[in-house]
Symmetry: C2
Subunit: 273 residues, 2 copies
């Protein structure tokens, strides 16, 4: 009989999805720093019979630049393995014939090169930090309020994140601001959106119960994956907080010290298969 | 038998509360411009046996500067008759021993001169337009998130307002942003808060059913006053829109073309008393 618990369920797994920041590396000055054991853990997964994908809400740079950074840190990762919100947004925009007004980091703009941005009929926002000026937010608002059918896309819905100099407001805060201003509901692209996780599963050709998501964010990684039918494992690195283990709404299928431990547990189970 | 409808109810009225922008005047270049008949209407009320107060969510300047502007336009108004959110906030802060971090227009800062602002234990925001930079909002967020019991006060909760150069995001949008960032609920000071209307009634020494509010904002003026037990009359000036007359949640007790018409109806009823 199949074991549906963790780590017993690893026996029937066919794919692993890894969050990046806080699981593979910690951000900081320059490229940041790899989390102990994570480079080796990725290598082990790559030589296993499991499929591997990376899933991030990173929107400060293009996937190319982002992957180049990870490779400099020592990770064996290629662009095709990485799922991030900007390319997912581009797919949605093209599918629906939408022309975006963009309020995003300059670094991620090239992801939208192939999209028609003239005479915008929707607004796309992503973490933009200092670019979230009153003037820029007001401009996005005026575009939305002037549309017959206003559509707002938010690449992620985080509240805040931590940088070297302290906490910083994330895109979700500005999503809520525009939602209230225009009396509408934004469409979130990225984790924890089920559509986003499903696109990774589709790429692997797997059913949800055949995959596990490993992340440091209990709500967006673990809860989002579980909502999609996958197992969700939390690592005690990155933005993990002890209070996550008694969260009122989300309970991880397993909690491990770090990615290295998670991968060893998975591969040991499979070894005993 | 007392007539509880409009304008019959005017017979038993003892006080009138007037919104200012959009009822007395339209804002614009310089001081803006008085709405036709409104200067005379205020004069008529002042020579009647009715008490008169002004109630505004204006937070761009001190009451002194604001009243000086109205007087330049020709209105017979004194500071003591005007109720605005900043002095109401100061009263709340002192009552509760709170020391605010302020994110407000420079012009309204003097209203807070008497308040201790060292080592802040709450945040007060008001319409601040260009001062709502990412850096300033992030600073307010960091103060809040660092508090054991975070308290956020918002002077009004408007979505947007209109200026010469187009629509501009109002304080409510940034209130929602900080509410989401810190997972808390702000306390609104100003219209439509019942506490705010009650402070005007208390100053007049009247019960809610003895007073009427006249405003151009269906939700904040009319709905707020009604929620407090007063009658609420909407004028078809300022931010009035025809769709207000079929609003799903708020129905004015009466709708009139402008303040002059409202005052004539009230005084005619009383003449026939």
């Amino acid at each position: 009989m199949a074991d549906s618990g963790w780590p017993g369920c690893a026996k029937s797994l066919k794919g692993v999805i890894l969050d990046m920041c806080g699981v593979l590396y910690d951000s900081g000055e320059g490229d940041g720093v790899a989390i102990a054991g994570s480079i080796e853990a990725v290598k082990k997964l790559k030589t296993s019979d499991l499929q591997l994908r990376f899933c991030t809400n990173e929107t400060q740079a293009t996937r190319e630049k982002f992957v180049a950074k990870l490779r400099r840190l020592g990770f064996d990762i290629s662009v095709a393995e990485v799922f991030s919100p900007a390319p997912a947004a581009v797919a949605v925009l093209k599918q629906r014939g939408l022309r975006p007004h963009l309020l995003v980091y300059d670094g991620v703009l090239p992801e939208f090169d192939s999209v028609d941005k003239t005479n915008p009929n929707c607004v796309v926002i992503a973490d933009a930090a200092e670019k979230f000026s009153y003037q820029n937010l007001n401009e996005a608002f005026r575009v939305l309020i002037g549309l017959e059918k206003p559509a707002l896309f938010s690449l992620g819905q985080g509240r805040y994140y931590k940088e070297m100099d302290g906490l910083k407001l994330d895109v979700g805060v500005y999503m809520k601001a525009l939602e209230y201003a225009c009396d509408l509901k934004a469409e979130v692209i990225g984790k924890p959106s089920p559509v986003f996780f499903q696109s990774v599963l589709t790429d692997m050709g797997l059913q949800p119960h055949e995959a596990v998501m490993i992340g440091d964010d209990l709500v967006n990684d673990v809860g989002g994956a579980q909502h999609c039918g996958m197992k969700g494992i939390q690592v005690r690195t990155g933005k993990y907080r002890p209070s996550d283990e008694s969260h009122p709404n989300v309970t991880a299928d397993g909690t491990v010290d770090n990615l290295a431990q998670a991968v060893d547990l998975i591969l040991n189970q499979r070894g005993g298969h």
